[in-house]
Each structure stands twice: as C-alpha cells, then as structure tokens.
C-alpha cells in the first residue's frame, strides 16, 4: 500500500466516524486520569449509556495535560465542538449524560472548555485559555485530543506524512533536514539530533535505534500519542541506517500495551517490517519493558540493560545505537510533517525547540505541558500552573527532577533552557512554598539518587551516600557547623569526578539549595529550628486551646497514645511520648492541632474542660 492509499483510507474512516450521528465521549484514561478515578467514571459512563440505550462511541484518550482537571471527560456531538468537563465523578458523568446526551444541555456549569470551531455559550474555548496559549504543542500535539489506539486517527491528523516524506529523501537529505530544525536532546542543551544520527550512520557495523520512554513525560506521550513517537522512531531509524530497534518503555502495563498495540497496527499496514511503504527500508522493532532505574537515562547503561547486562554506564566506547527519548522522536515526526523551518521557529533563534514539562508540587494547576525554549520559568509556573495557590508564597522550584536544581523565587525570570534544566532533560518542575523544608526534601531526593546509583563509581556511590547522610543528620538535629561547607565541597567533587551524568548531576539539588537557601540549613544546624516546621526533631505538635472541642479524633489517630483527653476536655499532647508522626494533624476536624518550631505556646500539663482555660486565665 502506498502512503496515499493509506491516508485516503484513514481519512474516509475518520469522516465516517465524524459524520455518524452517534455522539463521542472521550475519557482520559492515561496515568493521571486513572489516578484521579477515570476508570470508575468510564465504567459509569458505559453503564449509563447501556442503561439509557444511547448509541455513543466511547474513546479512551491520553491526557491533555490539565491534570488538575482529571478525570477529564469530553463529549462531542455531531456538528458541535467537543465539550470538556473536569473533575468528573461517576455521578457528574451520569448527569452530563442525562443533560447533554439524553437532553441537549451541554451543562456549561460543569464544562471547562470547548475544542473545535463552534462555540458554546458560557464555555471558553481551549485555545483562549492562557494555559494553552502559552504552550507550543509539538511533541504533545495530539495528546488528549486523538484516540491513541487508532492509527487512522493519527494519519487523519497528518500522521506518517513525515515518514512518507523522509522515505523520498536520501539519508543525507534527511539528516540535513533534522539539522536545520535545530532539534536536540535534551532540548536546547544536548547533542543536536542531526550530529548524533550522522555519527551513528558513519560508525561501522549494524546500527540500532533505541527509543527511551522511561520518564513520566515520555510515558505521557506513549499513552497519549504512540504513533507520533513511532513515526519518529521510523524516521530516525531510516536516517541513521538502523534496521533493528528497541522501544524501551518503563515497566508500566498501560503504556507498554499502547505501544505494542500501535506497533501491531503499523506492522499490519506495512509501516513496520520489510519494505516499509513499498520502499527498500526495513525496520524491526522490539518492545522491551524496562524495570525502573534512574541510571537507564544513561545511554550506555540502557544499552547494557537491553543486552541483558547490569546497566552500569561505561566510560568509553561508542554504542552501535542511537538512543532518543520519546519526546524527541515525537518532535522528529512533527519536524518531518511540518518542516524543519516550522520547528526552528519555536524558541530563541540560536537555540530553537520546545520542551515538555511536568509541573507538580504546590501549584494550583499541576499538569503536563510543552513550551517553547526561552519561556520564562515564572510564566510557566504562574501562567500554566496558576502559581503556588492562594495564601501561599512560592519559595523555590525544583527544575529537572531528582537531578535538577532548586531555583529561588527570584530566579523565575530565567528562560526555559539549559540554565533551568541542566540535568539531562528531565522535565519535572516541582514547586515548593514556605510549607516545605528544602533540607528535608533535598535529603529525601539524595536518598533516592543514592539508592539509584549503579554502584560502580566511588564518587557517585559513596558521595551521594555521604550527601544523604549529612543532610539526614542535619534534619535530625545532628548537623555540625561545618556541614554546609562540607556538603558544598563534597557536592562539587562528586559533580566534577563522577563517571556518568547521574553522578555528575546528583549533587545539583544539594548545591543549589545551599547556594540559595543556606540560611535554612543554618537554621537547622545552629538554631535547631526547621523554619517550615517539617523536620520532626525541631517541631512540636500541640493543641490549640481555643480550637479544641474535646472530641476524640486526634487521640484515636495517635499511634503512640501520646494525647491525653476525654469527652469535653481540651486535649494535651505528651511531648515525651510524641514521635512527631503528624497523624493527629489531619485527623482533627477543627484544625486544632498545630506545629511549632522553636518556642511552643504554653499549654496545660493535663486536659482541662473545654472553655475553662480561657476563663481561668493563664495564671
């Protein structure tokens, strides 16, 4: 089959779908949707439809990226825009069906936005949302909008045209095209894809194309638009001269299943295997579920894992493979569909491109989005994320996941690029406020990186261990005055001398926290205080006298029986017994449990009747 035939068939199929009188219901069942309860919403939708005998087409989509709205459900009736509903519960799903499908009320009270040409009164269009307008959706272009399980759906929006285009090019032309786009990995900082491909093609021996889909962003893409990634895989394989490839998906049954299904469809229509699209190009892809390990972001480590070896990064030697992340490959397919110049138009001229970010932490609207390089970080956090939320002040942003840097609020004007994401392309942005102890968070991050060190090189294995140990001691009240200097010295050494990028970036959170928030470390070490009142050693839990109503909630929640009290009595926490686990805090329905670091307000030694403390005075 030629590409034209394939495309015509797909378009016809999609048109038939579009012109059918049956409404379509889209449910985001990707990771975020599932975590938010999309599966129970989905089953309710199905049962409601069955019960009400409504012939509707239910489509499971990937995530649009507005994770704060999950479970996100959309309804599209013929000739109408797609209407998205956020935070849908099984009950609201039922009322939407009753309102919009049984009746004809699109329920603007429940709707968030629409997608499509037409409008619905009282509901903004997706394109008008600032959180959308800020974005440059290249890799994410179809995520949440198309059926990831349908190859026709992808072809209908321009899919595999890039592959058709590249197959008409010589290898040199293909590489030239990608070079013009300026695409690199990690975006803006790494080796340009063009150089990487060229080097691989020139190397002797058989080559392999390895898809690395291990980070949350990459899995997001695999779940939302697997064909965009696979098209990129095929284009890159063609340009590098690879005939065999591995698609490495983090061990995740949902993502792997989607990728496998997509690959099966490809093989069926002759886009995978021998003689792709009737050309001489052949490519065989093996889909490997790779168990989680941070070091697999190292190309040599990933390659070793694929060879069935311990994934310890090698210091030298060229790989017989090009390793690219799903994000990059999804952009590759866009570059060939829409042209290198189009892609080069995103971001600064000297460093074009886009980057997918996962925004999380203490932010009003967490989610996943793609921005042009150069977008100021602050705009992303506030424009897309809605800031830290009401009544909170943003303290810092951890940019780049566990290997990233803590950036203070004052650095939010930094443009998205290497300065913001130094750590090999991980796009996780975690927002922290005054409620967060950076020493404590950094300690736990280092516990993680230490556990993830492959164990080969001393600086990483032992160095991250020392960093973690020192941070732990600081949070436990055992910090020494020299510790900040020691951390800085150790961190710099581990960074400079480690074998691979895991070790070279592992100290980033420590070094950046020290650089910008040294006083927080010193508060722990010298003043024995945790300003965020997180570290148990420096925190006291107590019960607010004027809030306690004498109910047993906190007492029942306490695992140590450290809370004394009774019906109608103001409860008192025995500080000797309290282990600062914090379970009483959320247990109190009246917000009467409070934390202090440093001086704790005076409380009675034993329970007193509710209301009596104020009357008797504090004598």
């Amino acid at each position: 089959m030629t590409f034209e035939q394939l495309k015509n068939r797909a378009l016809a199929e999609q048109d038939a779908l579009k012109n059918s009188p049956a409404p379509r219901i889209y449910v985001n069942t990707a990771a975020c949707g599932r975590a938010a309860g999309a599966l129970s919403v989905l089953s309710r939708i199905r049962s409601e439809l069955a019960q009400k005998k409504i012939a509707a087409c239910v489509v499971e989509t990937g995530c649009l990226g507005f994770c704060h709205l999950d479970p996100l459900v959309a309804v599209e009736k013929p000739g109408r825009p797609r209407v998205f509903y956020g935070r849908v519960t099984p009950d609201t799903a039922a009322s939407i069906i009753a309102g919009y499908l049984v009746g004809d009320d699109p329920r603007p009270d429940l709707a968030c936005f629409t997608f499509g040409e037409a409008k619905i009164d009282g509901v903004p269009s997706l394109f008008e949302l600032p959180a959308w307008a800020l974005q440059a959706r290249v890799a994410l272009r179809n995520c949440g909008l198309i059926d990831p399980g349908s190859i026709a759906g992808y072809i209908a929006v321009g899919g595999y045209a890039g592959l058709a285009k590249v197959l008409a090019m010589t290898l040199e032309e293909a590489i030239a095209e990608i070079a013009v786009s300026g695409l690199s990995e990690p975006a803006g900082a790494g080796l340009p894809a063009g150089e990487k491909w060229r080097a691989c093609r020139r190397a002797p021996g058989p080559k392999h194309l390895v898809l690395n889909a291990l980070t949350p962003e990459d899995l997001f893409l695999i779940e939302g638009d697997p064909h965009a990634v696979l098209e990129g895989v095929l284009i890159a394989a063609y340009a590098c001269g690879a005939e065999r490839g591995f698609a490495c998906v983090a061990e995740n049954p949902f993502a792997a299943a989607k990728l496998k299904a997509a690959a099966k469809q490809l093989a069926k229509v002759g886009l995978l295997g021998d003689g792709i699209l009737g050309s001489g190009f052949r490519f065989h892809l093996e889909i490997v579920e790779v168990p989680a390990a941070l070091v697999l972001n190292e190309e040599t480590a990933l390659w070793r894992a694929l060879q069935g070896e311990r994934p310890m990064p090698s210091p030298a030697g060229e790989l017989p493979a090009v390793v690219q992340r799903a994000e990059t490959l999804a952009a590759v397919s866009a570059v060939f569909q829409k042209g290198a110049a189009w892609y080069a138009g995103f971001g600064p001229k000297d460093n074009p491109g886009t980057k997918v970010l996962v925004l999380a932490g203490r932010v009003a609207r967490p989610g996943v989005a793609e921005f042009p390089l150069g977008t100021p970080l602050g705009e992303i956090v506030s424009g897309f994320g809605g800031g830290a939320g009401e009544g909170r002040s943003l303290k810092a942003v951890l940019a780049g996941g566990p290997l990233g840097n803590w950036l203070p609020a004052s650095a939010l004007d930094l443009p998205l690029g290497t300065e913001v994401l130094p750590s090999g392309g991980c796009g996780e942005i975690t927002v922290a406020t005054e409620e967060d102890c950076l020493v404590d968070l950094t300690r736990h991050i280092l516990a993680h990186t230490h556990a993830e060190s492959c164990g080969r090189c001393v600086l990483c294995r032992e160095g991250t261990g020392q960093l973690h140990e020192i941070l732990a001691e600081i949070t436990e009240g055992k910090g020494k005055p020299d510790d900040p200097d020691l951390l800085a010295d150790l961190g710099a050494g581990v960074k400079a001398g480690s074998l691979c990028s895991l070790g070279q970036n592992a100290p980033n959170p420590v070094l950046s926290a020290l650089a910008h928030f040294r006083s927080e470390f010193e508060a722990h070490i010298k003043r024995k205080r945790c300003p965020a009142r997180v570290c148990g050693k420096f925190t006291t839990f107590y019960i607010l006298l004027d809030r306690c109503r004498g109910c047993p909630a906190c007492r029942e929640a306490c695992p140590e029986a450290a809370i004394a009290g009774g019906e109608g009595l103001i409860h008192v926490i025995d500080q000797e017994k309290c282990t600062k686990c914090g379970l009483c805090l959320p247990a109190c329905p009246f917000g009467a449990v409070a934390k202090a670091s440093g001086l704790k307000p005076l409380t009675p030694a034993a329970p007193v009747p509710v209301g009596s403390w104020g009357k008797k005075g504090r004598a």
């Binding site: 990771a31 975020c32 599932r34 975590a35 938010a36 309860g37 599966l39 994770c67 704060h68 999950d70 949350p216 899995l219 983090a250 061990e251 995740n252 049954p253 490997v288 579920e289 790779v290 168990p291 989680a292 390990a293 941070l294 894992a305 694929l306 060879q307 069935g308 070896e309 311990r310 994934p311 996962v358 925004l359 999380a360 932490g361 967490p366 996943v368 951890l398 566990p402 996780e428 975690t430 922290a432 409620e435 967060d436 968070l441 736990h444 991050i445 993680h448 556990a451 993830e452 492959c454 909630a553 029942e556 929640a557 695992p559 686990c581 914090g582 379970l583 805090l585 959320p586 247990a587």
Partner: protein, 164 residues
C-alpha cells in the same frame, strides 16, 4: 565444559531469542508467573541463556522491580517523590504502616499485603499517589489510604475509623 554450552540452545519459552538480550523479558515473565523470582526460575533462565545463575541474579538484583521473596496478596506502593512527599506522602505511608503493621519492603505475616515505597509515580501532578495492585490513586489523604486498604479486603483494614 558445561554440556548445554555446546548443544544448540533451545528456543526459550515465550519465543524470546536464546541470547542475553532476552534476559529482562524472561525475568519479567518469570516474575509474572510466580509473583517473584524463584531460585528455580533464575536457574532455568540461566540455563536457557547459557549464563550462570549468579550472572542472572546479578542483573535482576539491580532492579528494584524484581522480587526474590513471594509478595503478599496485595501490593500497596506509596510514592515518595518530592511532589508526593510535599503533599503528605509521609503521613500516608505512616498511616498505612500503622494499619498493616509493617514497614516498606515487608509483607504482613498473613501474606495479605506487601508495602512498598516507590521513588516516583509517573503522575506527580496528582500527588500524593498510592498504587494498590498496580492501580493508581491520586490526591490521596490518610483517610483515603485507609479506604483503599479496606477495599482490598476486610482483614488488614479492620481498624478503619468510621467516617465522622
């Protein structure tokens, strides 16, 4: 030296090619079958690939995802990534620890639950996240955590506090 090194290797179960590159897939398949990697499974995979069991174990032990002891009937994983931790993952873990009476990495004595601490969840925007038997649950509170345990079966979650 060893007989099977000279004989042609049999095609492995599941149709994987009989070379090292199938190792991860074979390990995953073995774990799927028994819930963990038994000594016999490791020996069998080693035999199929012409490796020593030590080599196979060395690779498998690298990945936190492979188990060498049988897990409980239900696996509860609490994500401890920074976003989840900020938003109460620590409390959730403590709540579950208290409910089940075990620390992460352990299995209850009735073999009902295995508790795990996960370094990341893949959907941090929904933090804090708990996975029960692979099913993700976001925006979890300590109370919700107890409910999740209760939904898996009456036994371990008998102490769930009634809604107030």
């Amino acid at each position: 030296m060893v007989a099977n090194q000279q004989q042609p290797l049999p095609k492995t179960a599941g149709g994987f090619p009989p070379d090292r590159s199938s190792l991860l897939s074979l390990l995953q398949k073995a774990q799927e079958e028994k819930g963990y990697l038994t000594r016999e499974a490791v020996a069998e995979i080693a035999r199929m690939l012409g490796l020593s069991p030590n080599e196979v174990y060395s690779v498998a032990s690298f990945f936190a995802g492979f188990r060498f002891a049988p897990p409980g009937e239900h696996t509860v994983a609490v994500c401890l990534c920074p976003a989840c931790r900020q938003q109460g993952a620590g409390l959730i873990l403590k709540t579950i620890e208290r409910e089940l009476g075990i620390t992460p990495g352990r299995t209850t004595s009735d073999k009902k639950y295995t508790l795990e601490a996960a370094p990341f969840c893949g959907c941090s925007p929904l933090a804090p996240v708990v996975a029960v038997d692979g099913g993700l649950h976001g925006r979890v509170t300590p109370i919700r955590a107890k409910e999740l345990l209760a939904q898996t079966g009456a036994c371990g979650a008998s102490r769930t506090i009634p809604a107030r």
